[in-house]
Amino acid sequence: MDEKDLELLRILEENSRLSADEIAIMTNLPTAEVENRVHALEAAQVIKRYSTVINWELAGNGEVSAIIELKVSPERDYGYDRIAERLSRFRQVKTLRLMTGTYDLQLVVTGKNMQEVSRFVSEHVAPMDRIRETATHIIMKSYKENGHALFEQQESERLPYSF
């Protein structure tokens, strides 16, 4: 991993739909080198996948997301890993992190509606062994996702010409 790889990652994180040719022009690298580097980053799992930041509220599908905090008793030899991996297999769990602070695992869970999310938590998450406590916070509105603002920003007035 060198400075050029980091540059490619920054570019792709912002817009993964750019072609190798376009990236080659921007970075002054040969197209083949861009392709090789990106392939290597994919192979090394540094690039996990290419996804899209979607404003679901505008898409109007009515999905509900929640942040769920879990207090967990760690397992001898495995710590939090086994239970975290188990939880992460659920389709509904979009994000899962181990945290410092008053709780241990943080999940972001998505469902069609509030009932689905609460059913998922009460039927699948809460009864699991080693989970001592859950706290579910429904997300009311998202203002920024992965560095992208989701609210309307006023265009600033720019002159057509200035020196």
Binding site: M26, L159, P160, S162, F163
Partner: protein, 385 residues
């Protein structure tokens, strides 16, 4: 009624792009590569600190020189980044943009009849400011052959016994040219030998893409005879805040301060608070913007060369300066027809003085999407010629 307009005001030519400006304002869907300012918003931490200071009632005059805290921070910053040893108490004045710094620098050194050499193509206000001081601007041509650096021989030819000062601006608006240490050394030898003063406008210093910026005052013995001008507009996307600074050895600084205190009193305090925050916490924002400009620079240079407008690689600022000579159109004709036919605004190079003719200033301080679209439209235009 008498004609009240002063001879000096009459002497200043009208803006070279007025008609373009008026035309562009009547059109929709124009992509403008004609803007000399960042397209980014000011980083929020800067805005936030300024808003907070207003809420706290920080709305009064500051010292003429500017906030002590800002000058202290600047003094450290200039020392660390550019090896410039300006002291915060005697050698830095916070100005209302570099524009004001330029004005008071020129007024504090130019007497009627003095000649001031100006490396051109250049920012449009240098010559008029010299004229307003009763001086005579003497353009020094920088050429494409030299990648628009200032050529020492050309400079030497422009110097007469009346020459009082030289104004340079690297990284350059409009050409993007940069002078490295050895380029500056050759100029320094002449400036010192001819005993003239140097005004170095370094407002694009942070936007240097290859190597690091060399401050003119650090070269040879230039320090004692250099006025360094800089500001926050370009590096931190703060054009509307109007905060610049003038740095010079005490004697020169004192003279400029006398003018500053009568014409401006002080730079706006909310802007100064924002500038202080920029120095404290916006380094990463600045670096991110510079990185983005570098990517766009590579895009526009490759694009212009591809569509038949030869363009050297600019090492600084955010302007590409391609030649339109091969198209058979003058820069003004090209810019006018491009605006009318393809709705892309660029600035004809001749507006920036000698050496600018047959070139266009294309600012790449626009989104990559707009940049691509502008290049597409320019290609269609050229293919239709």
């Amino acid at each position: 009624m008498r004609n009240f307009i002063s001879e000096r005001a009459k002497e200043i030519p009208p803006s070279g792009i007025r008609k373009f400006f008026d035309l562009a304002l009547t059109m929709d869907n124009v992509i403008s590569l004609g803007v000399g300012e960042p397209d980014f918003r000011t980083p929020w931490n800067i805005c936030e600190s300024s808003i907070y200071s207003i809420e706290q009632g920080t709305t009064s005059y500051t010292s003429n020189k500017g906030l002590q805290s800002l000058r202290d921070a600047l003094s450290r910053y200039l020392g660390q980044h550019y090896n410039l040893p300006y002291t915060s108490n005697d050698e830095i004045i916070i100005t209302s943009g570099v524009s004001e710094g330029l004005d008071i620098a020129i007024r504090s050194i130019v007497d009627p009849g003095d000649e001031v050499a100006i490396a051109q193509p250049s920012y449009v206000s240098y010559a008029p400011c010299v004229t307003l001081s009763g001086g005579k601007p003497v353009p020094v041509r920088c050429t494409e052959k030299d990648h628009f650096k200032l050529n020492p021989e050309t400079l030497l030819e422009s110097i007469t016994p009346k020459t009082k000062a030289l104004i340079i601006n690297f990284p350059n608006n409009p050409t993007g040219a940069v002078m490295n240490a050895s380029d500056l050394k050759a100029i320094a030898d002449i400036v010192i030998d001819k005993d003239i003063l140097l005004i170095s406008d370094e407002v694009y210093a942070e936007l240097t893409y290859e190597g690091s910026h060399v401050a003119a005052a650090t070269v040879s013995d230039l320090w004692e005879r250099t006025i360094t001008l800089n500001g926050f507009s370009k590096a931190y996307a703060m054009t509307g805040w109007r905060i610049g600074y003038l740095c010079a050895p005490k004697e020169l600084c004192d003279a400029a301060l006398k003018i500053h205190q009568y014409i401006m009193l002080c730079a706006p305090v909310m802007g100064q608070v924002g500038a202080l925050e920029a120095l404290r916490s916006a380094e990463e924002d600045k670096n991110n913007m510079v990185n983005e400009y570098r990517l766009r620079r590579n895009m526009i240079v490759a694009g212009l060369n591809r569509i038949g407008l030869p363009c050297h690689v600019p090492d600084g600022a955010f302007y590409a300066f391609p030649s339109v000579k091969k198209t058979g159109l003058s820069d003004v004709e090209f810019a006018e027809r491009l605006l009318k036919e393809q709705k892309v605004a660029v600035v004809p190079g001749s507006v920036f003085g000698v050496g600018g003719e047959d070139h266009l200033r294309c600012a790449y301080a626009v989104s990559r999407k707009d940049l691509s679209e502008a290049l597409n439209r320019m290609e269609i235009f050229i293919n239709g010629l």
